[in-house]
Amino acid sequence: MSKKLLLTRAKLKRALPLLRGIRRAKAQRAIEKINEKLLRAKVQVEEIDELGGLEFDVPSPPGIGRLVTLPFYPVATNADVTTAAGLNTPTTQNPICILNIGNTTANCVAPFVMQTPQISWADLRIVGFEIEYKTLAAQNTSAPTLLVQNLRVGGGTNLFTHQEYGDASLYSKDVGDYAGLRDYPKLVAPDFCSVTIAAVSTAATLDIITFSASLVCDIIVDKNYGTHLVGPYARGASLVRQQMHT
């Protein structure tokens, strides 16, 4: 009985896109009736659909203007930091930094500040912080660790929950999800965002970290590409369950 119903249902569903008007409505009603019969017979309709019980997920881009990456640039360096402009030379052109552990003080790289450029052509909402890093260490020793502190927009309050240093691996791009922040504030020029970076290692000298840090933002308004809707994670109302009204 169920098998016959399923075959009829499959035929009707295949034909449905080709039908118009009253014939389409009739086919739809027939499918619904069969669905009811199948449910009464405790046959899981969803599972026997054309999917064959499989569900298909496609990793997709997040939508226009969402989860864009805005790098921090080394604007105040020290003698442990090499940038695209050279040793201990700030640059606003390239965000990559190379840190030499123990260059001036054993086991560490002294703290320095990186900051984002002013984005005059867009209003952004900060929704995350990401860091990518590669380490050079003797293969039989612990790799050096990058530390981050004081993520701020303009004169705002720290967006990290940790008031002191935190391990940058919490914010690594290789971790499967995004680390949270205390708030998702707007970033509008002339404001910029800054973060303090340091590094430590069990080795007194010679370990190296090559890294860059970035903000993850949603674009609210772009002067060239228009207005976008930020993701649901950045819309307060969409984090609250809505009461269903019937």
């Binding site: 969803e46 569900e55 997920d57 496609v58 990793p59 997709s60 989860l67 003080t105 054993a106 086991n107 560490c108 790289v109 703290p111 890093y133 590669k134 380490t135 050079l136 260490a137 003797a138 293969q139 039989n140 020793t141 612990s142 790799a143 660790t145 530390l147 990290f160 929950t161 940790h162 008031q163 002191e164 240093y165 935190g166 391990d167 691996s169 919490l170 690594s172 791009k173 290789d174 971790v175 499967g176 999800d177 995004y178 949270g180 922040l181 205390r182 708030d183 998702y184 340091a198 430590v200 290692s201 069990t202 010679l206 993701g231 649901p232 994670y233 950045a234 307060g236 984090l239 609250v240």
Partner: protein, 223 residues
């Protein structure tokens, strides 16, 4: 010397992760056909924030790695280097403590570690183990009453569960016991650990709603 990237530790990058269930005919109606398009996203304001635990009392074998060099304790830098035990077996046990967060009401939802085990050890590698994760004087939040490997809680693992998600309110702090297991010849190993929280109320940024995983009514089947 050998360069090594950390990317191999986390095969599911945030840009390639399946999730969720096809919602009946909804996807079909919305023009997605029979495919479901998913994108990994931030968790929402004030959710899944991290607070490191620090070595606040000196203990033999443990040293904090700070931005001014090695130190017996640190309330600012969470990375710790643990030397090999004096004899084969366990090292001393240290207690790590989270700072008092006076400006926010938090809900504990997780515990993560970052352990820098040498990529190709030339000496017996140490394991860093944890026990007794407590909020103030509360009961242990780990299900294991004794030590378990910190690798189980490595950042990037799929959020191991805990006995409860208690509210963390100042002056309470979180504490955890840590101990290394190795040979007397083992190489020193660096590590850090943090708790993961949802912010319920922040003096500067206002009130937030915690994730559904931390709201009891949302993880029960509707009647």
């Amino acid at each position: 010397m050998k360069p090594h990237s950390h990317s191999h530790r986390h095969p599911h990058s945030k840009h390639h992760k399946p999730s969720g269930r096809v919602g009946g005919d909804i996807g079909f109606i919305q023009g997605a056909g029979r495919l479901r398009f998913t994108s990994i996203s931030p968790a929402g304001t004030g959710r899944k924030v991290y607070i490191p635990l620090y070595l606040t009392a000196p203990i033999v074998g443990y040293q904090a790695l700070t931005d001014t060099g090695l130190a017996p304790i640190s309330t600012t830098c969470p990375t710790i280097t643990l030397a090999a035990p004096a004899a084969n077996g366990a090292t001393n046990t240290a207690t790590l403590v989270s700072p008092q967060i006076s400006w926010a009401l938090l809900r504990f939802v997780g515990f993560v570690t970052s352990i820098q085990t040498p990529v190709i050890p030339s000496l017996p590698p140490m394991d860093i183990t944890f026990s007794d994760l407590r909020l103030g004087g509360s009961t242990n939040l780990f299900v294991h009453e004794d030590f378990a490997s910190g690798d189980l809680y490595e950042i990037g693992n799929s959020n191991p569960g805990f006995r409860y998600y208690p509210v963390l309110k100042s002056p309470n702090t979180m504490t955890v016991q840590v101990q290394g297991i190795g040979m007397a010849t083992s190489q020193a190993t660096a590590f850090s650990c943090s708790i993961m929280c949802d912010i319920l109320d922040d003096d500067q940024y206002g009130m937030h709603i915690s994730g559904p995983y931390a709201r009891r009514d949302t993880i029960q089947s509707p009647t």
